[in-house]
Structures are given as structure tokens and as C-alpha cells.
């Protein structure tokens, strides 16, 4: 069943057009990667889905219902949560308060403080510290946990690996398995192509705001990806 679909989605920053008629579909329970070079429009696509960028109502559909015109907080309530690029934890809140902030959308589901601490035991030990005093990897865990606290049906992850050591990235990606096992659908935006392809079942490749390639992550044509990625 198709959970999320964008249809001819365009997005603008002022006069600058960042996305040109993007069509993507995300099925229930799958993990989809969105890859592309810097400036290809990956983050813009996530921000448009999350409601942070104005789009026409019919260009983003959740369960077939138009949501393109809704505000970010309405979209969280409908079950789409975002782990923003650069983590964006609240600096004057403790780790636990950051997690609790995810509960403002009042959605029921499998995730609560106890479950998030089971997933990331380190966060439990650090829960009283200011969120921004944590290491980059721990902050990323807190950002993922904060998004999970809203019990999303669809989790949008923007550059989970950005600025983190390889071993930390591996740990965080291992946790993705536990998240999808709860029936959460995941969309990954990554510059680290191999990492994204390993963790997903299907991928879309964006190039300069346009969809350049879409394929399953098993048995795809590497040469076609190279062409789509670099535009050669």
C-alpha cells in the first residue's frame, strides 16, 4: 500500500526553483533512500514533505489525502516525523526534555521514553545533561529518539551520518532495523551513497532538482547510477 506519494512536486526558495515536478512513492513498511550530489534537492524534498516549504495541496499525498498545504505541526500529527539535518536539538533543554518534546503531537504508538532508552541506552545515562553537551553521535541518537517519540508512521532522516565517525554511523544505522521492525516506514536522505543503499530497499537519485533515476537497491546498474548522480 502506498503510504506517501508526491505528484509533480515543485518547490521554491523565493524566486529560485529547487524542485521540478518530482514524483516519488513510498510504500508502507519499506525503507527508501534518496541520494544525490550536494544541492540536488534532497533536503528540500524532505522539507516539502514535512510542510516546512509551501507546496500545492495535491502535490503531496498521505494515504491518498492531499497534505501539501498543511503546516509542519499538522503533518507531525498525521504521522510524519523528521530528524533534521544537523540534528537541531534544543540547547536550553536537557536530553530527556528534548525527547519529551516529541510527545507534543499526542500520537499513541509503540514508542515512549522507556523504549527510546532501550534503543539508545547511552541516552538514559546522559538524560539530565544539556542536549548540546553531548557528542555528535549521541546528539544524533537524541534527534532520532525525539522524532520517534511522536510515534511516526513515516520517519524522514536527513543526513544521519553527517559529521560522524564511521563506527558511530554504523551504530546508528543498526538501530534503524529496530525502528522499521515496529512498522515505521523510513525515508533516508544521504550523501554517503553506500551507507544509504545498504540500509534501503529502493532508492531515488535526484540531480539538480529533478528525478534522475529510481531503482531497487539490489542488482541495479552502477553505470546508470553514476550517470544519474553526476549528470554525465
Amino acid at each position: 500500500m502506498t503510504l506517501l506519494r508526491t505528484h509533480n512536486l515543485s518547490a521554491f526558495y523565493g524566486d529560485f526553483q529547487a524542485l521540478f515536478g518530482i514524483d516519488v512513492a513510498v510504500e508502507q513498511d519499506e525503507t527508501v533512500a534518496i541520494i544525490g550530489a550536494n544541492g540536488a534537492g534532497k533536503t528540500t524534498l524532505l522539507r516539502a514533505i514535512a510542510g516546512a516549504l509551501a507546496t500545492a495541496p495535491e502535490t503531496v499525498l498521505l494515504d491518498g489525502e492531499p497534505i501539501g498545504h498543511k503546516t509542519p505541526h499538522e503533518i507531525v500529527r498525521l504521522g510524519i516525523a523528521m530528524v533534521p539535518e544537523g540534528r537541531r536539538l534544543f540547547s536550553s533543554l536537557s536530553v530527556e526534555e528534548n525527547l519529551l518534546l516529541g510527545t507534543h503531537s499526542n500520537r499513541a504508538g509503540p514508542w515512549n521514553l522507556r523504549r527510546v532508552y532501550e534503543l539508545f541506552p547511552r541516552l538514559h545515562e546522559l538524560r539530565r545533561l544539556p542536549a548540546t553537551s553531548l557528542s555528535g553521535g549521541q546528539q544524533q541518537m537524541a534527534a532520532v529518539g525525539r522524532a520517534l517519540m511522536s510515534n511516526p508512521r513515516l520517519l524522514l532522516c536527513d543526513e544521519l551520518s553527517l559529521g560522524l565517525a564511521p563506527i558511530v554511523i554504523r551504530d546508528i544505522y543498526q538501530c534503524l532495523g529496530a525502528i522499521t521492525a515496529e512498522g515505521t516506514t523510513v525515508v533516508l536522505v544521504e550523501q554517503d551513497i553506500n551507507r544509504a543503499l545498504d540500509a534501503s530497499t529502493r532508492f531515488y537519485c535526484l540531480q539538480e532538482g529533478r528525478l534522475a533515476l529510481s531503482a531497487p537497491t539490489k542488482n541495479f546498474d552502477r553505470a546508470a547510477l553514476t550517470a544519474a548522480y553526476f549528470g554525465m
Binding site: A52, P72, V76, R88, F90, S92, L100, L101, S150
Partner: protein, 288 residues
């Protein structure tokens, strides 16, 4: 002993200045809204209390049961209907809009009540005093106002650091865009914030109206005093605001003891001195 007396009287005077400042500090801290009409809302609260006491025969303290909800509703509606629209364009639009509101309130009050002085009458408590050892007399009323200021700030601290709404206030203050992505309805939250700020503004207005005469043009000087208390204390720090109010009060008392005409000037000079020595105030918290 005379100086101890001045110190005590000045500190107590600071209580009313801290009360003036709470609403201003809240709206700046949470939504970066510089509310130029803040002083006029204090005075407006005094007039609302005046109408309530005259219409119902209630005393000013009891009139708070009506004045507080009225001012809360006014704050909520004003933020929801008007000020939210001004917040996306930087600091200047809300500054201009609240400046306009300030003029509207002053002229509205002038039209409705005339330019005469008014006062709220609370009776014997206004002149009652306590005799402390060493020949120091402390007014019961200033003591009460100071206690209300301490209680008000303590309850706000509780709200900010022990409740879900307070957590949302702090998150929105840190990063409004990300807070919205986490499911917070910023516009509703801002409306609630100005509503709560107006609760304290209402209390300040009534307590001030019992203490001093007021007229439609009394707002701007209250705004200046509130600004000074906030800046001296440091932006974003509520207890700092109380200290800021006390510094102002003590400076005014010392000035008045030297020469009665120096009272107000001494407060402003203390403010300038602190602005030069510690531009971020004594206990800064909010960045940017």
C-alpha cells in the same frame, strides 16, 4: 542605619519594577517581540480595575478576579489575530505595530477617561507599616508588592522548568522552526505566551494603581522602567529581572536621599552605568 533603611526601602521599591518587567521579559524571551505598548497595557489594566471597582463595588485586590482574565484574553487575541502576522519579518514590524497599539491605547484612554489622575483605593493597608528594630519602618504595602513579585517569578520558573508548556516555550525560544517540525503549534503557543504575560501585566497594573496616581500618559515611563529592569538583570533571566528591579529601586532611593529631585535620574544613571560595565546585564541567559 539611615543607609540600611534606604537599602531596604529601595529593594522593596524594586518589587513593583520587577512586576512591570515580567511581561516584557516573557514576550521578548519567547517570541523576540519587543512590546512597545507594554507600559500602556500596565496602565490599561489599572483603568480596567477602576471600571470594575466602580461598577461592582469590589476592592482593587478582588477586582483582579476580573481584570486578570480580561487581560489574558486581550493578550491571547492580540497575539493570535495581529502580532503573529508581524513576527516573520524580523524585529522591526512588531516594534512598529506595538508602537501603534501604544498610541491607540493612550488616546483611547484619554477619550474615555479624560486627562485626570486616577487612583485605586485599597484602604488601611496602603498606610500600614511594620516597626523593625533599629528604628526602621517598613510599609506593609511595599512588602506585599515585593512578595507578589517574588511569588510571580517563582511560579513562572515553575511553569518554564517543570511543565510541558514551559518546555515548549523554551524550545520555541531556542529554535522556532525546529519546534514546529516537532509538532508544536507556534502560533497558538505564542498567543498563550502573551496571554500569560498579560496576567502579570494585569497584576502589576493594579498594584501600581493602588500605590501611585495614573493617567492615560503614564505608560511610557513604566515601559522604560521595565526595560531597565530587564536589561540590568540580563535578558532571559527571570530572577535577574527581580535583581534588576531592586538595583533600580535602590539607586532611586539613594538618589532621593541625596536630593529628592535626583530620584528618577539616579535610577537611569545606574542603568547606564550597568549598560557600560556589563552590556549583557548581570545574569544574561538568552543569546542573540
Amino acid at each position: 542605619m539611615q543607609w540600611l533603611n534606604i537599602l531596604i526601602q529601595g529593594s522593596l521599591l524594586g518589587g513593583i519594577y520587577a512586576l512591570f518587567a515580567i511581561g516584557l521579559s516573557m514576550s521578548f524571551g519567547i517570541m523576540r517581540l519587543v512590546n512597545i505598548a507594554h507600559g500602556d497595557f500596565i496602565v490599561l489594566s489599572g483603568y480596567v480595575a477602576l471600571v470594575v471597582t466602580q461598577a461592582t463595588g469590589l476592592d482593587p485586590f478582588s477586582s483582579l478576579a476580573i481584570v486578570v482574565p480580561v487581560m489574558f484574553a486581550l493578550g491571547y487575541v492580540l497575539q493570535r489575530g495581529l502580532l503573529n502576522q508581524t513576527l516573520s519579518g524580523g524585529l522591526l514590524p512588531p516594534l512598529l505595530v506595538t508602537f501603534g497599539i501604544s498610541i491607540i491605547i493612550q488616546n483611547g484612554l484619554l477619550q474615555g477617561f479624560g486627562a485626570y489622575d486616577h487612583r485605586l483605593q485599597e484602604g488601611a493597608i496602603e498606610t500600614a507599616s511594620l516597626h523593625l528594630p533599629g528604628g526602621i519602618d517598613v510599609g506593609v504595602y511595599p512588602l506585599l508588592v515585593f512578595a507578589v513579585a517574588v511569588f510571580a517569578i517563582a511560579s513562572l520558573q515553575f511553569l518554564f522548568y517543570r511543565t510541558g508548556v514551559g518546555r515548549a516555550f523554551r524550545a520555541v525560544s531556542d529554535d522556532a522552526n525546529t519546534a514546529e517540525l516537532m509538532g508544536i503549534d507556534n502560533r497558538k503557543l505564542y498567543a498563550l505566551a502573551l496571554g500569560i504575560a498579560m496576567i502579570f501585566t494585569a497584576i502589576a497594573g493594579v498594584l501600581f494603581g493602588i500605590r501611585t496616581i495614573f493617567d492615560p500618559a503614564a505608560g511610557p515611563i513604566r515601559l522604560i522602567l521595565a526595560f531597565e529592569a530587564v536589561i540590568i538583570g540580563g535578558l532571559g533571566s527571570m530572577w535577574g529581572t527581580l535583581i534588576g528591579g531592586m538595583v533600580l529601586g535602590i539607586a532611586q532611593s539613594v538618589g532621593a536621599a541625596l536630593d529628592p529631585t535626583w530620584q528618577i535620574l539616579a535610577g537611569h544613571l545606574a542603568f547606564l552605568a550597568i549598560l557600560i560595565l556589563r552590556p549583557n546585564g548581570l545574569f544574561p541567559r538568552t543569546r542573540d
